[in-house]
Amino acid sequence: MQTIAETLVAARVCGGIGRAAIQWQAEQDGVDESAVRARMRGTLAVMRQSVQDGLNPAMRSLSGRVGGQAAKLAAFGQPDRMGLLGTACAYALAVAESNACMGKIVAAPTAGSCGILPGVLLAVQEKEGFSDDMLVTALFTAAAVGRAIALQATVSGAEGGCQAECGSAAGMAAAALTELYGGTPQQAADACAFALMNMLGLVCDPVQGLVEIPCVYRNAGGAAQALTAAQLALSGVACPIPCDEMILAMKDVGDAMPPSLRETGEGGCAACGGLCVR
């Protein structure tokens, strides 16, 4: 399962990308599928706690610039003002802020993009009542897609820009959402391709090199992109570009990015002199 195309072949046999990934991991570890599911359930528990941690309005990062903003977003969304989108963005921001504040998080695929996947999955679980077991399978869907991205391109912002971090996280989350809502493996691949397409070219430009600005807000934005991409795919819109080609395009764009836009803290947002104090 090195590419999305190979992953789709395995998914046809196993009845889904997530199930194929569980089987693959169990074979790798030489253990029962129940053991790898149990391990992922532990990961899900950390994700859930990281959302709760990040919703604490008193939380502040070491620089003092982020923290407590997810609580504002969550409060604004009550009682269902912005719907699923508002909840997913608030949760994604919560996890990203928790990361910035030295909280415990699950890198998914990286620490800088750790909010997107738990943000959308835990938000849709609240709305739709999906079981934890279903979320565990969806996390494996995300992992398989992320692995195909990492093997063919990169998930590192220093190598490929934010499109490789938050873009990959959104692609992984979009695929996970699609299988969670009963979409086919092909639709999940399309959802990932849409997310990568819509976040193509996003640069990695952390202010003062810290995983704070714009990183935490990009997690909120990435959650929205993941939901949009999953909706497109689930509604039957086929992505005109195959997912593997989108991954390679992302790599090419990353390779073409100047170093100043790849996590050096020089270009983009990092080059803006004034930071608002409000």
Partner: protein
Amino acid sequence: MDMFDLIGPVMIGPSSSHTAGAARIGKLARMLLGGEPAQAKIGLWGSFQKTYQGHGTDRALVGGLLGMEVDDIRLRDSLTYVQDAGLKVSFYNAKLRNAHPNTVVMELTNRAGRSIRLQAASVGGGEIVIQSVDGLETAISGHINTLVLTYRDTPGMIARISGEVAASRLNVATMRVARCAAGGEAIVTLELDGNAEPELIQRLEKISDVYHVAYLPARVPNVAGETGRDMPCRP
């Protein structure tokens, strides 16, 4: 690369290189030193020097020195634990040549008075390399059970050391030897397939001209995933 490398590791934020990697360096340095550290002079270089406060690199290094793992929530407040732990810590801006941007140098002394110097780099995604111990070149990643011996460079030492390892029916995966000068202090780094029992460590310590034996077991992934895996992860 497996599925849990993409959904994982569980770690304390904000950065896999500047926080999780730093904690791993601290933990491995503690194991290399042996015993409880009493003094740590820590020099930061490059991006570590410029951004350590915002990334909690100092807290992570100290937390690791105190034995904390990358997913230990106490990393955040590790500097408040040093007094109770009897650890004196000082930081300074190191000046290095041709070093990786995320490099740290440490001079450590334990309660028994043993001192070591080391240089390590956090090379991305939580991956780290201990590059030298007491000025002797090594390459310790922490991914595999590793024995590190310092000894006086005399003929037959490698055979005696590897003989003891073989007597424990352990396979050596990789081996790296360096020395400062013929007949001077030397270091051998042995990566093992399997776990070194305390008896093996004791036998190695008894070999004449062996100065110190450090054993750095790789962290075993927790099946429940609660405590996370020790890597790899990414920035």
